[in-house]
């Protein structure tokens, strides 16, 4: 191809800019943008709890369960001792260390 032909092709390519038509934006884009600003708020809320990782949640759960079990055991022992004392008192089974006249 001779130079004038290349020049013609180059000119046609550059002139093609003028033929590009305006494109209208989709009508739902505004709603999408507004919805995404709301999502950003949710993300920010999520970020507040981001430090509370699953491993940390598990550790806290284990500690909570251990504390509960320990408290239950202690409570049971106290209840048991209290009921035994009550029984001894009710049937007067307490050992009398006082002296007798006999």
């Amino acid at each position: 191809m001779s130079n004038p032909e290349i020049d013609k092709k180059v000119k046609a390519t550059l002139d093609a800019i003028e033929t590009i038509e305006d494109v209208r934006v989709s009508s739902f884009l505004k709603d999408r943008i507004l919805a995404s600003t709301n999502n950003t708020d949710t993300v920010e809320m999520d970020n507040l709890w981001s430090w509370f990782t699953p491993s940390l949640q598990f550790i806290i759960l284990v500690v909570f369960m251990v504390l509960n079990i320990y408290t239950c055991i202690n409570l049971d022992a106290e209840d048991y001792n209290a009921s035994v004392d009550e029984f001894i008192e009710a049937y007067n089974l307490v050992e009398d260390n006082g002296s007798t006249i006999f």
Partner: protein, 192 residues
């Protein structure tokens, strides 16, 4: 509503004002994005990103320029960043030859898939070649040429958006035109 009031309300995260801002600018921003990226879906994603940035970063706006200029600056940066990222992704594993001026169809380049509803069928090929050629220019030349020739902005507007002097914009535009001509000539020489 004055520009100062709009900015104040945006800083207070007033969604009604933000909604009005979208009404006023979405078509213009979309037009600018469509000048940089040849794909309608990508351009709409970019418009969304621009408005989110405006909403989140309005407190950083110092008022040294007009609000519209600041928004166009964000738009231009977002478009360039997007093209850069897409080119890097596409290039993974296929390093382009260094120092190459060649913009002929390169599958590692973002500008291989066009979905530009503004391209007329009879000029589709010419427009695609032009987009590839523009995007093979150095970034500053690509920005100035795109904003002026495709988006229809004046040299003065481009100077404010790109933070350059008017003479600098004119000089970049001159070099862009020359380079583009040269690249197209080389392209058609190898084509035939």
């Amino acid at each position: 509503m004055t520009e100062e009031t709009i900015i104040e309300q945006l800083k207070l995260k007033n969604t009604i004002v933000f909604s009005k801002l979208i009404d006023s600018y979405q078509q213009k921003i979309f037009g600018t994005c469509m000048s940089f990226v040849p794909n309608k879906e990508d351009a709409e994603d970019l418009v969304q990103e621009v408005f989110l940035e405006v909403f989140d970063s309005i407190h950083k706006f110092k008022g040294n320029s007009k609000l519209s200029t600041w928004i166009y600056r964000i738009t231009t940066n977002k478009c360039l960043e997007f093209i850069r990222k897409r080119n890097t992704k596409k290039r993974s594993g296929f390093l382009r030859p260094l120092f190459s001026d060649d913009f002929s169809i390169d599958k590692t380049n973002y500008f291989t898939e066009f979905n530009h509803p503004g391209f007329l069928l009879e000029n589709k090929e010419l427009n695609e070649t032009l987009f590839r050629a523009i995007n093979s220019l150095p970034e500053s030349q690509c920005v100035v040429f795109t904003l002026h020739k495709l988006d229809g902005k004046s040299y003065q507007e481009i100077a404010v958006i790109t933070n350059k002097s008017l003479s600098s914009v004119e000089s970049i535009m001159f070099r862009a035109k020359k380079n583009l001509q040269k690249r197209l000539e080389n392209y058609y020489k190898t084509e035939f």
